[in-house]
Symmetry: C2
Subunit: 124 residues, 2 copies
């Protein structure tokens, strides 16, 4: 259900231009793997199996699903190379690139959160 229909998302008091953009973004970028995939691709384009190796714990099926989703949402591009054996290269689109700075702040925030949690643990 990642299709975007402009009247599918409930109104949001913050900005009611079309739908709630925050919820939309969370829906597109949230989830367990999208962030990691995006951050890998932000460093360089990558072949399918290379990504698989770089993301421990992900299965082929899930990786494929995520990549498809991200392509459908215009975040990445898929390109079959013509060399043998045929390989598939994935890389960020401009839209995908435009999310990278946000990704970095999410990462920062996460790290801050972690250290805060650790401080709490010390005290208890």
């Amino acid at each position: 259900m990642s299709d975007f229909k402009s009247d599918q998302y409930g109104p949001c008091t913050l900005t009611v231009k079309h739908a709630c953009p925050i919820e939309l973004t969370m829906h597109i970028m949230g989830g367990k793997w999208k962030g990691i995939i995006l951050s890998l691709l932000s460093k360089s384009p990558m072949y399918y199996n290379a990504m698989r190796r770089e993301i421990p714990g992900i299965t082929q099926r899930i990786l494929t699903l995520q990549l498809r989703d991200m392509k459908k949402n215009g975040l990445i591009e898929r390109e079959e190379t013509s060399d043998n054996p045929k390989r598939v290269l994935y890389y960020l689109t401009d839209l995908g690139e435009s999310f990278v700075p946000i990704l970095k702040s999410l990462e920062k925030w996460g790290n801050a959160y972690i250290s805060q949690q650790e401080e709490k643990l010390k005290k208890s």
Copy 2:
């Protein structure tokens, strides 16, 4: 499952300080309602039922669950007032506040995404 255990999250090639902070953040902030709730509270503290009215489509149960989760993760604080009838005020903690700028960029990005989608629709 929102508890944080430092070795529960798979390694992330980006930053392997403790776990993948991106995934962690997505896990804490993702989902359908957290963003909206946070953005409401970023404007002012709010009572339970006021929030309920401001977020069309949310049910009591879900709102309660979300608020509890956010409190558990240290994003918001819950305070029972002593007036009659007793009411419950929710407000952001510093940690919660610290996410607001990110929320705004998520919102911006969402809006950009929406306009891009619309342009595509025009062309087809």
